[in-house]
Every structure is written in C-alpha cells, then in structure tokens.
C-alpha cells in the first residue's frame, strides 16, 4: 500500500516536473524541474525493489543537472535564474506529434495483454545485480566500457578549441605543430 502511494505521488511529480521543464521561463528553474523529475523516477524504481538502480539514477541525475546548469550559464552568457526566455519553434506541431505518440503508447500499454511474472523476485536485487555484472553478464559491461572510453575521447576532440588542421596546417604537412605554448621538456 505504501509503495503504491509513493509510486503515484512520484508519477504525478515526474510528469508535472517534466512539463514544467518546457513551460518555465527560466533555464535554472527548468534544470531544477528536470532534476525533480529524475528524482521522482528514481523513487519509482525504488518501489520496484530496484534499490541500486534507483539510487544511481537519483545521484547521477542530480549531478548531471548541476553540470547542465553550469553549461547554461557558460553558453547563454547570462544569469539563467533571472533572464526569462522562450525559444521555441513548431510549437503546435510538436504538441500534436507528442499527443499522438502518447495516445498510441498509452493505448498499447492498456490494450496489450501483458504476460504475468514467470519467476519469483530475487531476495537481494543489488547483490544479484553485482553477481550478474561480474559473472554471466560481464561481456555486456566489457562492451559498455570501450563505448564510454570512446565517448570521453570523442567529447574531448569535439570540445577542444584547436584541432589537427589548426596545429599542422590544412594539408597536415607542418613539421612542428603551431601551438601557442610548446609542449615537452624545457619549454
């Protein structure tokens, strides 16, 4: 009973906060609303006995929203808490498409005869997840690892202000890179 109450309160908060993200006139408030939506989804995961994943979603997303707020201040060049903004396009068509998608998904969710549980829940979901990650599903995590590493490299390459053409010329033929400060020992 308590779980159902927590779930439905979290559900209302998650959806309402999600709508607030795009209705508010301040980017700072939008970020807070998105963080609230993520926390509510994390609480819903906790009601499914997904203790580890629920806590991970809450912690990770709160940190992510803090980083997002920093990016907004950097990119927008203003105090996002004070500056009203409304930068939208195709407002009506976006609402129509989103509404149609919701009707379709909700109809599928309500009309499809979903199968019931075929196995009993494990007693300790966190322990069982750890054993799965370090055992039968290790290959999955080994595949995720290089993807995350490639993401780090890709993000650095995209985010770096000087690329190889600026350092070695348009034909990449320069003997030495044209850097503002030379690297290496003895600079």
């Amino acid at each position: 009973m308590l779980e159902a109450i927590v779930f439905w309160i979290s559900a209302v908060v998650a959806v309402a906060a999600g709508v607030t993200v795009f209705r508010t006139d301040s980017m700072a408030r939008a970020t807070y609303a998105l963080a609230a939506s993520f926390v509510a989804v994390g609480l819903m995961l906790l009601t499914f006995a997904l203790d580890y994943l629920g806590v991970i979603v809450i912690l990770m997303m709160v940190m992510e929203m803090a980083i997002m707020a920093l990016f907004m201040i950097m990119l927008m060049g203003m105090n996002p808490a004070l500056m009203p903004m409304s930068m939208v396009h195709g407002k009506r068509s976006a609402a129509v498409i989103a509404g149609l998608v919701f009707v379709g998904l909700a109809a599928a969710a309500l009309l499809v005869p979903w199968p019931g549980a075929v196995e009993a829940p494990v007693a300790d979901t966190t322990r069982s997840l750890g054993e799965a990650v370090m055992g039968s599903k290790m290959l999955v995590m080994l595949t995720v690892s290089p993807v995350l590493f490639a993401t780090i490299v890709g993000a650095l390459v995209l985010g770096h202000p000087r690329n190889r053409y600026q350092r070695y010329g348009a034909d990449l033929a320069a003997d030495h890179p044209d850097d503002p400060i030379d690297g290496g020992v003895g600079r």
Binding site: A14, F71, L105
Partner: protein, 100 residues
Amino acid sequence: MTLSLVLVVAAALFSVGLWGALSQQVVVMVMMGIELMINAVVLAGGAFWWFTSPTPDGQVLLLVVIAAMTVEMAMGFAVALLLHRRRGTDMTDMAAELNR
C-alpha cells in the same frame, strides 16, 4: 499498481520529452527532452523487469540504458560547446547545415 498503468506513466514522460525535444530551439533544452525520453525508457524497463521477469539479468539491461543516457549527455555537451565556439550560438536553427 499494474504494468499497464506504469507504462502509461512512462508513455506520458516519453511524450513530454518528445514535445520538448521537437519544440525547443536551445541545444541544451533539446538534450533535456531527450533525457526525459530515456528516463521514460528506464521506468518502462524497470516496470517490465518487476512485473514480468524479476531476475538479475534484466537489471543489466537497465544499466546499459543508463550508460546510454550518460553518453548522450557527454556528446550533447561537446556538440553544444563546439557549436558555440564555431558559430557563437546555442540554437538548433543556426546549425541546420552540417557543411559549414
């Protein structure tokens, strides 16, 4: 609380995210919409896990989805930074062409 009702909540979250991703002009706000959509996928995955097959393996799939969410954020921020550096904007309408 049934699987169908949880999926309806996930559908609502997904649709709100889609609405935001389609209607917003600022790159970071578009990323927020995509985040909401992935969040809905995490919720739906958790519900499927709990109501149909609560074995450890299903949780690993959710971990992968959460990792995908992280990748999306990292690359989104990198693209936003690149866009801002090259064109001095953070609006999607100013980045309609890839060849400049």
